[in-house]
């Protein structure tokens, strides 16, 4: 019991994932600043933001709408993100528990934050939040199918093994999955899915700042918004970590290899940041057809290639 609680709250759950995620969020902002020839925020900026929201600011409840649901939604988001982080990071750090890291469980846990944002947005009673919520829902419909195709591809590559432990071991004994044509295709598709899951530009229409003024988060302030930030930090770490586990042979924690593991995660985040900085926001319809037609097509091609053993 105590061990499970430790896993959930400290390592590799809430505290660890959120700290790393906060640093990654700083990395993302710093790279953005460098791309735009700016200096960028200081290293501890995400922590200042989080603690300011948590400790200093007042939390305002909506008068029209459901205050209880409005407050519960960010907490659900944090719980969902933390559970997913535990289930992804335990196999990654090769900590042996009874759970082997079933990919489908992880897949479902990863959708909890997005759904909680929608619930919170709809409970706030703000029309712009409702617009954001409906966009997020459509976005989920778009990318979820593609994401499950990626996961199916990984499972096929690993001879029908569903658990992350075996997937990582297979790659570490052989070559990483990204070292084949189908692996590269899956990687491209997975990067775009993650971009949409994190709601980064070009898929940030649920929280389009200049258009519907932060959309789903428009009514959140103070501690409730801090919880949302926390969930976002965690997601920013575990989604790249999941890609590293699925396609880039996971972490190897012996000696100098730790540096290599860190570089892999940073590399994936760098790719996300560069995509975010070089693209404009697309319309929701374009995003859906992008995933439904093009990304699904690439994923299916990858699946066919895998069936032929490429």
């Amino acid at each position: 019991m105590a061990v499970s609680l430790f896993y959930f709250f400290v390592f590799p759950g809430l505290l660890f994932a959120a700290t790393i995620g906060a640093f990654l969020s700083w990395f993302d902002r710093k790279i953005t600043a460098r791309v735009q020839f700016r200096k960028g925020p200081p290293l501890l900026q995400p922590f200042y933001d989080f603690f300011k929201l948590l400790l200093v600011k007042e939390t305002i409840l909506p008068r029209h709408g459901s205050p209880l649901l409005f407050l519960l939604a960010p907490i659900f988001a944090v719980i969902g993100a933390t559970l997913a982080s535990v289930f992804i990071l335990l196999p990654l750090f090769s900590i042996n528990t009874g759970f082997k890291g079933d990919l489908l469980v992880i897949f479902y846990l990863l959708t909890i934050p997005s759904f909680s944002y929608i619930i919170g947005a709809l409970a706030s009673g703000n029309p712009l939040a409702a617009v954001g919520g409906s966009r997020e829902m459509k976005l989920i419909l778009g990318y979820e199918m593609t994401f499950i195709l990626v996961i199916a591809g990984i499972i096929m590559k690993c001879e029908q093994h569903f658990d992350l432990n075996t997937i990582i071991q297979t790659q570490q004994e052989g070559t990483p999955f990204i070292g084949s044509i189908s692996g590269v295709l899956l990687f491209i598709v997975a990067i775009f899915c993650i971009q949409a899951k994190l709601a980064l530009v070009p898929f940030d229409m649920p929280e389009a700042e200049t258009e519907i003024t932060e959309g789903i988060f428009i009514e959140y302030s103070g501690a409730a918004y801090a919880m949302i930030k926390l969930a976002k930090y965690i997601m920013l770490f575990i989604l790249p970590a999941l890609i590293v586990a699925m396609l880039m042979s996971g972490f190897n924690l012996h000696g100098i290899n730790i540096l290599w593991a860190i570089l892999k995660v940073l590399g994936v985040v760098l790719a996300l940041t560069l995509i975010r900085n070089t693209n404009p926001r697309v319309k929701i319809k374009q995003a859906i057809s992008f995933f439904m037609i093009w990304m699904n097509l690439i994923a299916v091609i990858a699946l066919v290639l895998i069936a032929f053993g490429l």
């Binding site: 600043a33 700016r38 200096k39 925020p41 305002i60």
Partner: protein, 137 residues
């Protein structure tokens, strides 16, 4: 100085309220966020929703219709909120002070923490004003 106020100082999120301005002040405010002046160095971000704001920047002359909006925006902001009046219009009314629709200046309507005069103030002056605001709050 406590941990709380330190975090607050290090992460000021700005919401921009433009009254009946001639748009020069708006441009200078946006200028502060461009690569040349880069306010994100200090953790200052421009946010889209007043619920996330720590600083309310008000510029332009406040006429009778703006007054209601400004009050509403101010009441919707989560406390603590700092108010900065930018430009001659925001501080005193400037050339509009005698106009018949004029309802300001800003400090008659809501409490103001800092005044940044100028028509329009230079970005450096805005940054200097915000630094002073941060150090005094």
């Amino acid at each position: 100085m406590g941990f709380k106020s330190y975090c607050f100082k290090k992460s000021l999120w700005v919401f921009h309220f433009g009254g009946a301005s001639c748009n020069n002040c708006d441009i200078e405010i946006l200028d502060c966020l461009t690569p040349r002046h880069d306010l994100e160095r200090f953790g200052i971000l421009l946010v889209g929703s007043i619920r996330h704001a720590d600083v309310l920047l008000v510029n332009g002359s406040i006429n009778r219709r703006d007054k209601e909006r400004l009050l509403e925006i101010y009441n919707q902001a989560p406390k603590p909120i700092l108010v900065v009046a930018i430009g001659a219009c925001g501080c005193t009314g400037g050339i509009f002070a005698e106009g018949m629709t004029f309802a300001g200046p800003v400090d008659k309507i809501i409490p103001v923490n800092a005044y940044i005069p100028g028509c329009p103030p230079k970005p450096e002056a805005i940054i200097a004003g915000i630094v002073k605001l941060v150090n005094n709050s």
